[in-house]
């Protein structure tokens, strides 16, 4: 294992972490502001990926694909908020979990009917097919680099909106003390819708960008939902800053676990045993991280509410 390999894996981890952050930010905002658990967030991610892949196939323009993916996902998010989520805000978390689980079931069958049961191909844009020479000995796929840049841009944009705009101020006010914000005259309903749609947009971006790296298939939303939930819990539910730190941690730990644990185990134990234990340990790494964090800080790293 040389240093180039380690650097490459770390960059991969940060890229994965940024994508997780895009999902986690939406989840944590919805939770922080509306006190609502939304399991269907992964579904929005899936729609982003499917729509972007379809548009890319038809138009051969990657930019148009991502834009379409994001806009349609925002529309789906708005539809979901107006028809269902709005009626769930005052319910307990268990009701929200069950109803949004119902949305997952509905959406999965819709995707199956629309695009078929088998995974569809999402290709990387032709212009970004080749590698970029990051260091003299480190060629890095340019598409992964694009994801890295896009993730950073989206995170910065979110930071700007949340911390330096009037809307962000309303969102933060709602997250830290909702009844007080309502009493001060914040139009909560429209803020809620807007927050939900912003969350949907971020999920759509992540889906559209991740599509070409993973397979675009039914269940991809649930596959990434769990790591995203792990991220918001480690970060402290409701805290955007916390979920950024946690997303980086989880991204790097998960990627490093998969890349480094199996070869390390092969050094210290019998190959057959290492082949058994390695993947299991790699899969577990992120959950161990969460359990350890919650064990010492039961409210996550950056608890949003005192």
């Amino acid at each position: 294992m040389d240093s180039i390999f380690i650097i490459e894996q770390l960059i991969n981890g940060i890229g994965y972490g940024l994508m997780l952050f895009l999902l986690a930010a939406g989840l944590t905002l919805v939770f922080g502001v509306m006190d609502t658990m939304n399991l269907a967030h992964g579904t929005l991610f899936m729609f982003g990926a499917y729509i972007a892949a379809t548009v890319h196939e038809a138009s051969h323009s990657f930019v148009a694909a991502v834009l379409c993916g994001v806009v349609v996902t925002m529309l789906i998010g708005a539809l979901l908020e107006v028809t269902l989520m709005r009626r769930l805000y005052k319910r307990n978390h268990l009701n929200q979990v069950v109803a949004t689980f119902g949305v997952i079931l509905l959406a999965d069958d819709f995707v199956k009917w629309m695009w078929g049961a088998s995974p569809i191909m999402a290709s990387t844009p032709a212009a970004l097919a080749g590698p970029v020479q990051l260091l003299p000995d480190l060629p890095y796929p340019s598409y992964r680099l694009l994801i890295l840049v896009a993730g950073v841009v989206a995170a910065l944009a979110l930071y700007f909106v949340v911390n330096h705009t009037r809307l962000g101020m309303l969102v933060r006010a709602g997250a830290s003390d909702r009844p007080m914000a309502e009493l001060m005259g914040v139009r909560v309903q429209s803020v809620f819708t807007l927050v939900f749609v912003i969350g949907a947009a971020l999920a759509g971006v992540a889906g559209a960008l991740m599509g070409p790296l993973t397979s675009v298939q039914i269940g991809m939303g649930e596959g990434i939902l769990i790591p995203a939930l792990v991220v918001i819990v480690i970060g402290g539910i409701g805290s955007v800053r916390g979920s950024f730190v946690a997303a980086m941690l989880v991204g790097v730990v998960d990627t490093a676990g998969r890349a480094f644990v199996p070869p390390l185990l092969r050094e210290v134990m019998a190959p057959a045993l290492a082949a058994d234990v390695g993947p299991a340990l790699a899969g577990i790494a992120m959950y161990v991280l969460m359990a350890v964090v919650l064990c010492f800080k039961p409210g996550g790293l950056f608890p949003a509410r005192g």
Binding site: F31, M37, L39, L84, R87, L88, R91, H93, L94, N95, V97, V98, A99, F101, G102, V103, I104, L105, L106, A107, D108, D109, F110, K112, W113, E222, I226, L229, V230, V233, I237, D276, V277, P279, A280, L281, G283, I284, Y287, V288, M290, A291, L294, C295, P298, G299, G300
Partner: protein, 335 residues
């Protein structure tokens, strides 16, 4: 709770007794109508009812929403497989051992998890269940990802032949009925009432001097042990177990079943499991798109009868805050 009102109602005793009688004669009657297949199906449903009831005990009475219950089901199932490999064939010993294994796992996991509350508790139980899932995937001796096939069913003894589906059905029914009775008695006991008190107001119970943490841990261990028993019964019936039955979505389905049937309702787990398992079976046989009706049902239940289907079965005094859910209530309202 509405428990005391139903106690006086003769239907509350007669209804379950009739259902139990119906379930008991089912395997004897079914072959005459060519319904042999359904003996196995109802047995599977009974086991899901048992597991869902244990989760309802934890969630509905203990107030602990755990998203990792399928993990304990898996621990029980794999414990049975491990003991069978070690040469134990007696079913009762295997089932007892499976319960013990799940209880020990729950003791360790609960001791850490119960430090957290609410959504954090949901997530930490999920985390531990995922660890158990990956552990099962890595156990290549027991088939790893592909699962494990049991060559023969365990031995029941007492002149009972476990290879016969009807016999195993009756044993499973007896075990499940005993567990339901246990849970029912437990809720009414001093321990159960303390548990309900903790659910409703933890700090007050702590101020009253109850060992809140230990009581919750005890409930967590009991629920997990019964879930482990459910897992062991499942392997006994199917002679097969794979890590996919420990996947987090299985834990989510169990929560869904409990909420569907009625959280904290005595028959919540039973009704939820009956409805869910039957619907799943019927829909899966009739259409390729069998998920969406279930999804639509869940959304409808949450929007219109959030306290679950169980509330359909007993009337509540008009004007009281309890028992607002259920379709009967809506009909009464609109009439």
């Amino acid at each position: 709770m509405s428990m005391t009102t139903t106690e006086k109602n003769p239907m509350a005793v007669a209804g379950p007794a009739l259902v139990l009688l119906g379930l008991a004669v089912f395997p004897a009657v079914a072959p005459h109508f060519g319904l042999d297949y359904y003996t196995g199906f109802v047995m599977r449903m009974l086991i899901v009812m048992l597991i869902a009831t244990s989760l309802n005990y934890l969630m509905g009475y203990g107030g602990m929403v755990a998203l990792g219950h399928a993990g304990f089901v898996g621990v029980g199932a794999y414990a049975l497989v491990a003991m069978t490999e070690a040469g134990i064939t007696n079913a009762w010993a295997l089932w007892g051992g499976a319960m013990l294994a799940a209880a020990v796992a729950a003791l360790l996991i609960g001791a850490v998890s119960l430090r957290t509350k609410g959504v954090y508790f949901i997530m930490i139980t999920l985390a531990f269940a995922q660890m158990l899932y990956y552990l099962a995937v890595s156990l290549r001796v027991y088939g790893g990802d592909d699962g494990y096939n049991l060559y023969s069913r365990p031995v029941l003894g007492f002149g009972l032949d476990a290879a016969d589906d009807a016999t195993l059905y009756w044993v499973v029914l007896a075990v499940c009925a005993a567990c339901f009775l246990f849970f029912h008695r437990s809720v009414g006991s001093r321990f159960g009432q303390a548990l309900v008190g903790i659910r409703d107001n933890e700090s007050r119970m702590m101020a009253l001097g109850y060992p809140v943490f230990l009581l919750k841990l005890q409930a967590f261990v009991i629920a997990a042990a019964v879930a482990g028993l459910g897992g062991a019964l499942m392997v006994t019936q199917n002679s097969f177990i794979s890590p996919s039955s420990m996947h987090w979505s299985q834990s989510a389905v169990l929560i869904v079943i409990v909420v569907l049937g009625g959280l904290g309702h005595r028959w919540g787990g039973v009704i939820g499991a009956a409805v869910w398992v039957s619907l799943e079976e019927t829909l899966r046989m009739s259409t390729e798109y069998w998920h969406w009706p279930l999804g639509a049902l869940l959304i409808a239940i949450i929007l219109f009868a959030p306290e679950g289907l169980g509330t359909l079965f007993h009337r509540s005094p008009a004007g009281k805050g309890e028992g607002r859910g259920g379709i009967f209530y809506l009909l009464r309202r609109s009439a």
